[in-house]
Subunit: 225 residues, 4 copies
């Protein structure tokens, strides 16, 4: 049932009924994210909400490009592990926040690219503004390039509960996820295929933005480092 | 009959008589374009005109790096789907325009790279001018590096019919395809192998141009963003 | 027993008892490093200390992305080959220095990336300072991004014994390995999985630092070349 | 006998006696060069001189990343095809020049990377000077990083015979091959493994040089484009 290595994404739909299919989808998405350099070291995390409400999420500490079924655990909407001994990542709360706020959300992805990390550490505005790109049409409700999408940037915080309260204020406006400074992006969709597609679109745009920034007059040193 | 994953391009010739061969060629080209980062999210599209005149083109919305035979539909020269329920991409018209204008065209590729996107959003001229590169010899009629090829850049437009009328004015001069600002490149050839080769040559040159631009004095901010 | 090409890292744990498992882990790590461009030409080296104290290390001269079991030899803590005719790399001493100084060390990796090479040749300070990155948490004892890690940079020296004496002075403070100017990074961990993870984290951060440097006002020519 | 896709380089030794082994080595080297982006479109060429003096070289026009045995033909030291109907690339003369000048040469590689193309079009000196890099030790006779190697840069010329006369003047001094402006690198070795290793080393260094150039004050526009 698993697709071939270069595979199609058809198997990783979020309306899968069984745990095994959800785990397979997460493993495959992890490979894809690792191919692109979006889960360096043990960074990043991936989750799916099954039709019956169970949440499958990557456990703390493993490399997300090399997942096995042991690397995926079940948590409740409160972020707590459903089985004794399972240790969820602290960032689980950010996944659960999406599932709670958006009844429609079926998959959440947290990636950690060079572009997202560098851009978020360089800009001083509270958000990245993306406009005139055709790829903007991959995000929810977008039908034209003649638009401006805002991707909020939040300061990193080891107190995830506190961080999630900042995120909560802006969730309704987010069309292309959000970024945590020096820490990466969060993006979601009704199923894994859509979430991965939106992540790919966002990372493509962040890479374009970083390249364009390199062509601008230099940013003063105090703003970059 | 399909080549191996790392395969040769010998099977994806445009003079294939059967639908299945054309679909296989499109799927393989999609993999290649995805490997190179030229079909991010659901961007890009690929088509082949069979010897009997049928046009096989990627349907709207799917990821072009993970195509299956379901992802390829038949359209007429007017861009309309031949089978009930098939939904072609709006950009189908741009493929059909090439087939109509060039009796010799057997495959059309629309890719969406970072280099093409960034360069087209940065330059103010109506075209990119490529000269002195040995790789220029991969385009039609080119036998030397001592030449200057023009790649026209058109403003993006959600009204594809209107966009195609702008494109029409310059088609005869195009030797290395064209670019839609913030949206990617269109390039073609007598068969898929040639079209892919020309796309690869064009993307290589665009990457070189972007790298050279980074070594120039900075472009004023109002021109870049 | 070997994992698949896109495999999980679960087999390359440092507490392997047998030589064959250690060799397999080294070969697999070499593939991963080669995929990422960290062992160009014949550069780089990889080692594991087995539970029984034997040290398996890549021999001199071969390409570390294409290792076979012949490419891995046994050395003692003094860096000398255990079997007649085996030729260890001169850099073996730097691996053995780690094993001697850190009783806990189970694997040492020397990678040779563009980012490490360029950064080390450009900066004038005696170390790279990494702060505010979430990925800093992948290194030993790090639990927050709100920290500053120092990665010492040593001048290259063909006299490895002399080089190791400079390194010795700073070993206790190193949390993210060290860099040899124009020559690459050294990093380690209790097992191969951890060492590879830390290498990946370090290379990610070095790439971010290089990208940020490109956004700064230009460095005077005398400092760069 | 062929190595696996991610394979070891052990099969592509230049002392192979048979034509089939030489062809297999060329095909495998072509895959490796294509993976790295060094044979875009139909650019680049690869050759091996067998122990019996026969020269196997890639024919004109095909994509060097997707070679089959049909894509490799036999030529004589004068560059002419040994079999009726075979069409060698014009650049065959440059391969034969190496084999004539260096009795020891067993393989010649012509690659076409972004770094080589951009650097050669940007610099005004007649050569690239590489110093202080540890990777310099991969070239013939080099035992230290404390050296400066010169890689001559020749103007491109569609008259290959004329170009080869310029090259001839400097062949004896070349330790790391040479570059043709806007056209790529030529490098060689006693066998394919060594030639590929040296090509990889050279491309690594060219990439480092390009990255360092990006950190310098901007080059005046008239010198870059």
């Amino acid at each position: 049932m698993m697709s071939s290595a270069s595979g199609s994404l058809s198997v990783i739909s979020g309306d899968n009924q069984t745990w095994d299919l959800a785990v397979a989808a997460i493993i495959q998405a992890g490979h894809r994210m690792d191919d692109r350099g979006w889960v360096p070291a043990t960074a990043g995390n991936l989750s799916i909400r099954l039709a019956d409400g169970r949440i499958a999420i990557t456990r703390s500490g493993g490399h997300k490009g090399f997942l096995t079924s042991d690397g995926v655990i079940e948590v409740g909407l409160n972020g707590e592990a459903r089985h004794e001994g399972d240790r969820p990542s602290a960032e689980t709360l950010l996944h659960c926040q999406i599932y709670e706020h958006f009844p429609n959300a079926g998959a959440v992805l947290h990636g950690h690219s060079v572009a997202a990390t560098v851009l978020s550490m360089v800009i001083k505005e509270p958000a990245l503004y993306l406009e005139d790109y055709e790829v903007l049409k991959v995000f929810e409700d977008q039908t034209t390039h003649e638009t401006r999408l805002s991707v909020p940037v939040f300061a990193n915080d080891q107190n995830i509960a506190r961080l999630s309260r900042s995120v909560a204020l802006y969730l309704d406006e987010m069309k292309a996820g959000y970024i945590i400074r020096g820490h990466g992006v969060y993006i979601w969709g009704p199923d894994m295929t859509t979430a991965l597609t939106r992540l790919e679109g966002l990372e493509f745009l962040l890479t374009c933005e970083l390249e364009r920034l390199k062509l601008l007059p230099a940013i003063p040193a105090r703003d970059v480092m």
